[in-house]
Symmetry: C2
Subunit: 217 residues, 2 copies
């Protein structure tokens, strides 16, 4: 009685969370398959094997579901990012390489996920919440890279090594490689993407990224 809220019934709470991610996964599938504009609550519910009323029960509205879907993607990405950083070697160069290669990890870098990211990017300008969430990811990415780049060189007057410039170039490049994988799947693959980024690192920080990928074609 003094407790206004009981500890949640474990079974139900788990089910509830499971349903939410189940619906979110179905949303991701639908956006990747049908696109943002043609994704309906009926599609999502059907994909999850549930009736359509359920979606409005677990999420306040369609917009709520979409925002949670973006949040889910964002969290998933951050988790992989943090894990990769934790596993990376101690040097700044190793960390930098690890961070960049996360973006090319098949778990995040596959056409389905990329299509969904770009679906949200495409609506970002007209929906402040999307802009906020997408921008946040980009800015964290950028800041982390900038710090690592700054550790790699004290030659900040040299423009090609200026941490700000290199970090923004790297952020742009990884995003752009995702786009290439999305819209040019025949001519692009993850391996070409990986070698392209590494070539840039070798060219900018030759002492930290010695040439080693000549034969990795």
């Amino acid at each position: 009685m003094s407790e206004p809220r009981r500890p949640p019934a474990t079974r139900r709470a788990a089910d509830k969370a499971a349903r939410r991610t189940q619906l979110i996964r179905s949303t991701i599938d639908s956006i990747a398959k049908r696109g943002f504009a043609d994704t309906t609550l009926a599609n999502v519910a059907e994909g999850a094997g549930l009736s359509h009323g359920t979606v409005n029960f677990h999420f306040r509205s369609k917009e709520g579901l979409l925002v949670e879907t973006l949040r889910f993607l964002s969290e998933e990405y951050k988790t992989r990012w943090a894990r990769s950083l934790a596993r990376a070697g101690p040097s700044a160069a190793q960390k930098l390489e690890a961070l960049i290669l996360v973006d090319l990890d098949p778990a995040v870098c596959n056409r389905k996920k990329i299509a969904v990211w770009f679906a949200f990017y495409g609506e970002a300008k007209s929906r402040p919440t999307y802009l906020e969430l997408c921008g946040q990811r980009d800015q964290e990415h950028f800041r982390a890279l900038r710090e690592l780049c700054a550790e790699l060189t004290d030659d900040d007057s040299h423009p090609a090594r200026h941490a700000e410039l290199v970090a923004s170039a790297l952020t742009a490049m990884t995003d752009g490689l995702w786009l290439a994988l999305l819209i040019n799947p025949a001519g692009f693959d993850r391996d070409l993407a990986r070698r392209s980024v590494l070539a840039y690192l070798e060219s900018t920080f030759p002492e930290h990224f010695p040439i080693k990928n000549c034969d990795a074609a």
Copy 2:
């Protein structure tokens, strides 16, 4: 009588073409303002100051209007690209720099246009026609850069200078910088974007792009 087709009445033909681009421009405005999903024929018609039935008169369908809008953007981009190449100096380095700077020209590189490009990118996976048109642009971009890069170096065994890798890195970078301008307008601007690409060029082809942008901040 022997002529089954008269020459078109010039006045009307011009009006017709004008109406089409008028509607396309209104479509661009609407997508940038409301996003792809919330752009309706009524919006487009209102933006153009016409009744909503007109759109179906000038374009077979909404989808037809959207495809023509993408085609319009694509043509506009190619035109600027060709013009810039024609005006550039004769050396491969000058041409390369010119091609890359077109992407940062305010006429194509502004948030409105970028938002529309990314709206189409976002739907590209589920609509083959968009994929075709977007992919085409990206591939032409890539091929042109690769040829110029190949002219800049014969050191093709060095990965950081392998034309294929540098060209895909550059294509990715310019696309990624567009994205940064779209989703992080506060932290990014065209000048930072420009300096980032040039830093990459200086770092990869130091003999062709001597350091010169240190103080351009």
